[in-house]
């Protein structure tokens, strides 16, 4: 695809904010549109984003969990999101740097250009004239307005509605221009408008009410505008999509993606080694060691977007009283220093994770790898505990102070063997400094109940991140404690809250990063949690497949540009795009 002009940030003078494509692209597009085509007048792309499509072809079978839905507003899980992103486009795509402030780095998708209003309270998106739905109809501004309704109408009950709360409405200026109106000026308003919302064809849902959208036949047989088009969904077996040969962004380099529903990770890997599947998105340490034994397979690492931690409960159970042991900041810092996090990562994850540095992931632009860490120092931790009055006069191996033993319970979900292993390692390492830890492994839902009720001393938590670092507030902000958010340990810090507030209202990306980093540093210094690991995910993939563009927030982002060299193709790669039942 031809590279378009860069788009301006909202901090630039408004007079300069309208951008047009290059004259060369206009000529190419006009020339293309002028040609008669057998598929409803759809523009043949001049080239795809990585080069010629002459050698396009091949089938990739992905062993993964079955999607919960293919209708974008109804999707809650990763499999559904991945598949819908293959079939549906957004107006613009976040760049590889994952910037969420202004529109810097965002790449055109259905919108080939956009214009900020002088007061920045609205953005007009101009749709690419070449864009067509897979049924041949042109993509119109009315489709954008419909999509906004499908995401935000209360009757549609989309789990993503809250992500669009800053958008007041979407109006249609003309058939190719949709205008987003915002409630207030925000640094991330462009991100809000384009990241969470896929554009869907209004004509497919014309006679339905919002409450019927997600359960309609149109929702299960989607018609999108992405580089892959839907073929069929055989529940319990597979979802099949094929290349949209006339796509305005260029034909996908693969013919077909077969999303093969496989519930169990060990079954997924079995399917890989028996040749039934080509790709498994995430492998565990036990599988990592097995991959080299199979000549057809290789490991492909990509950036992660999550971190795990052990959060302390700073209050006494469900009450608002301070926890008798863990409310003390210096004690928490000492406990953190008693843990060899580097060794634990190697022990549990081998090369599939790195120590977490704080309440962020390394893929964030705001990540701070220089943030001062509480380094592993058992002797130092013991000295701190001594100085705080935690001693072991009776020699039973457990320190105590004023009759209160240095003892607490860690709860961990049985759904995560790794977090269970970490709990055991932590128990042993804290035993060495005189802290008695008991472990309570709980079924996942029981674990969540304990978190919500605050009925724990320490919990093995996990955070899946959004590209916006603002989500850090949901885990560590004062307004997100217990039932109001994910801050189950009731950590509060005015410094953190103030810095994150400043970061989320800063229009200058540099200033936002500075505030975020100060906020992270405040949390790390207070040690409301021990930052355990940040997964460095690895996929198992068949050697014939060339993988590209796996983004931290979406490993499937570049899937349309994955390829299989003609000389390496196997039988299923040669099926082609022939009509299938």
């Amino acid at each position: 695809m031809t590279v378009l002009d860069r788009h301006a940030s909202p901090t630039m003078p408004t007079a300069m904010r309208r951008h047009t494509r290059s004259a060369a692209l206009a000529l190419v597009a006009l020339g293309s549109l002028a040609c008669g085509r057998p598929d409803g007048g759809r523009a043949e792309p001049s080239a795809d984003s990585t080069g010629s499509t002459a050698d396009a072809g091949g089938t990739i079978v992905i062993a993964a969990q079955e999607p919960d839905a293919l209708f974008p507003p109804a999707i809650a899980g990763i499999p559904g999101k991945a598949l819908s992103d293959l079939m549906f486009d957004q107006l613009a795509m976040i760049g590889p740097g994952l910037n969420t402030t202004g529109d810097a780095g965002f790449e055109p998708r259905l919108a080939d250009e956009w214009t900020w209003a002088p007061d920045s309270l609205s953005i007009a998106f101009h749709l690419d004239a070449r864009a067509r739905w897979h049924d041949g109809r042109p993509v119109r501004a009315d489709d954008v307005r419909f999509s906004f309704i499908a995401y935000t109408d209360p009757d549609a009950a989309s789990p993503h509605a809250e992500s669009l709360v800053g958008i007041d409405s979407v109006t249609v200026r003309d058939s190719s221009t949709a205008v987003f109106w915002f409630r207030r000026r925000m640094p991330e308003q462009f991100f809000q408008a384009v990241y969470h919302m896929s554009i869907m064809p209004s004509h497919r849902f014309r006679d339905l009410t919002p409450s019927q959208y997600a359960t309609s036949e149109a929702a299960r047989s989607p018609v999108g505008s992405g580089r892959f088009r839907f073929v069929r969904w055989t529940p319990g077996a597979a979802v099949e999509v094929i290349a949209d040969t006339g796509n305005y962004r260029g034909r996908a380099r693969l013919d077909r993606v077969l999303w093969s529903a496989t519930a169990d990770p060990s079954t997924m890997f079995t399917r890989l080694v028996t040749g039934d599947a080509d790709f498994m998105e995430r492998i565990g340490p036990e599988v990592l060691a097995q991959v080299p034994r199979h000549a057809d397979l290789r490991v492909h690492h990509y950036p992660g977007f999550s971190y795990a931690y052990m959060a302390f409960n700073l209050t006494d159970g469900a009450s608002s009283r301070p926890h008798p042991v863990l409310a003390d900041r210096e004690l928490r810092r000492a406990l953190t220093r008693a843990l060899d996090r580097d060794a634990m990562v190697k022990n549990v994850w081998e090369s599939l994770a790195v120590p977490a540095l704080g309440p962020f992931v390394r893929a964030f632009a705001s990540a701070d790898t220089t943030i001062p860490q509480l380094a592993f120092d058992t002797a130092g931790a013991s000295r701190t505990l001594d100085s705080l009055g935690w001693r072991d006069p009776d020699g039973d191996g457990v320190r105590e102070r004023n009759g209160v033993p240095l003892a607490f319970t860690i709860i961990a979900p049985t759904s995560s063997p790794q977090r269970g292993q970490y709990a055991v390692l932590i128990q042993e390492q804290l035993r060495r400094i005189g802290a008695k830890v008991t472990i309570d492994m709980l079924e996942f839902n029981a674990f969540l109940e304990r978190l919500k009720g605050g009925r724990f001393d320490a919990q093995m938590g996990f955070a899946m991140m959004d590209p916006t670092p603002a989500t850090v507030r949901q885990f560590w902000g004062s307004l997100a404690t217990r039932s109001k958010g994910l801050n189950s340990g009731s950590y509060t810090s005015r410094v953190f809250d103030a810095e994150i507030d400043s970061a989320t209202t800063a229009f200058d990306p540099g200033a936002a990063i500075t505030h975020y980093r100060r906020g992270y540093a405040a949390v790390v210094a207070d040690a409301p949690a021990v930052w355990l690991y940040e997964p460095s995910p690895a996929a198992a993939v068949h050697r014939r497949i060339q993988v590209t563009g796996m983004r931290a927030d979406a490993w499937w982002a570049g899937l349309a540009d994955w390829s299989i060299a003609p000389g390496q193709r196997i039988d299923r790669d040669r099926i082609g795009l022939a009509a299938r039942p």
């Binding site: 089938t59 079978v61 079955e66 919960d68 839905a69 209708f71 109804a74 809650a76 209360p154 009950a157 789990p159 509605a161 809250e162 969470h196 997600a214 359960t215 929702a219 299960r220 529940p235 319990g236 077996a237 597979a238 099949e240 077909r256 093969s260 529903a261 496989t262 519930a263 169990d264 060990s266 079954t267 079995t270 399917r271 080694v273 028996t274 039934d276 079924e443 996942f444 839902n445 029981a446 969540l448 109940e449 978190l451 938590g461 955070a463 899946m464 991140m465 959004d466 989500t471 949901q474 885990f475 039932s483 109001k484 958010g485 994910l486 039988d571 299923r572 099926i575 299938r580 039942p581």
Partner: protein, 325 residues
């Protein structure tokens, strides 16, 4: 016989109602809900989860939810699956035939194998072959189902590459085959899961059949038949097998629940999209309506199977039917 059938059908209805009510109550009183798994996803706030719970009526009192659900079931509406985004009846309609094929094949094969082996062993009681077969049957009977399934995959799919590792058909290729090719493809995929279930269930039936036959062999009427000079083959067919089959028919009713339970594990290992796999996934995602729907289907299958076994038992043994009127 007619009264017996009616009685069994009424009994089956009560069993299904009790099983589903218990499931409904246990599910709703257990921690979590269909949207709990979103907790670790920063994109889903607590407010969003609360809204989804409200939309699906999960914030209402459990009694109200139950009455609403039971009224809908009476109208044939089993509810909407939160994990699959479609009516529960649609999900069941696709899964049940797969399970019936797997269970039916395994049931027929395991009884054929079990009865044959058990009879063979009983007739050669105390011989080397009896001891060897008994040990082998005991070994299979003792094996965990998931372990045997994994070993079967390892040997036949991975090492020998003789059979597919899972699924119902070969994706992509299946549609390009002719009628017999498709039938062969389905059969190929059926072999490993059906074989695993057959080995597990058949081993138990063989031990049962052997013991039943040995019991009958000691009866006076068998000795009398022998004393009268009835040929051994005729004794086996007309006296021994006919009488020993009565408890084996009872075993048919008992085998259905265990087969259904075993099928859940086997379906998961072999990625067989049947009722068991559907239920396991539904439980993991707290998909209330899909779990209760699966329980209705599963308990109905077991109740019908048990009733069928009772009717067959009554047909085989006039004493069960009671005195003639």
């Amino acid at each position: 016989m007619g009264r017996l059938v009616v009685r069994r059908i009424l009994h089956a209805v009560w069993v299904i109602l009790a099983a589903t009510t218990l499931t409904f109550v246990l599910l709703h009183t257990a921690p979590g809900d269909p949207f709990a798994a979103m907790v670790e996803n920063s994109r889903m706030s607590e407010a969003t989860r609360a809204r989804l719970r409200h939309v699906h009526g999960l914030d209402r009192p459990i009694g109200e939810q139950y009455l609403r659900w039971i009224a809908n079931v009476a109208r044939g509406d089993l509810g909407h699956s939160t994990s699959q985004g479609r009516p529960v009846s649609d999900a069941l309609a696709e899964a049940i035939p797969n399970t019936l094929v797997l269970m039916g094949t395994a049931l027929v094969l395991s009884f054929a194998v079990g009865v044959t082996l058990g009879t063979y062993q009983a007739l050669r009681r105390g011989t080397v072959s009896d001891r060897v077969l008994g040990t082998v049957a005991l070994a299979f009977y003792s094996l965990p189902d998931f372990w045997l399934a994994l070993i079967a995959v390892l040997v036949f799919a991975y090492r020998l590459r003789l059979l597919p590792a899972g699924g119902v058909v070969t994706l992509l290729v299946h549609d390009q085959l002719g009628f017999w090719g498709r039938a062969g493809d389905r059969l190929q995929h059926l072999v490993l899961p059906a074989l695993t279930l057959t080995l597990l269930t058949g081993a138990g039936i063989a031990r049962f059949q052997r013991a039943a036959l040995l019991d009958v062999m000691g009866e006076e009427f068998v000795r009398t038949a022998r004393a009268k000079g009835v040929p051994e083959r005729s004794i086996v067919r007309r006296h021994l097998l006919r009488n020993a089959l009565v408890p084996t028919i009872t075993l048919l009713g008992l085998a259905l629940p265990s087969l259904l339970g075993g099928a859940a594990v086997i379906e998961k290992v072999f990625n067989w999209p049947g009722l068991g796999l559907l239920a396991v996934n539904a439980i993991a995602t707290r998909d209330y309506f899909l779990v209760t729907g699966s329980v209705i289907a599963g308990s109905a299958a077991v109740a019908i199977g048990s009733a069928l076994a009772d009717v067959l038992h009554a047909a085989a043994d006039p004493r069960v039917r009671g005195p003639a009127r």
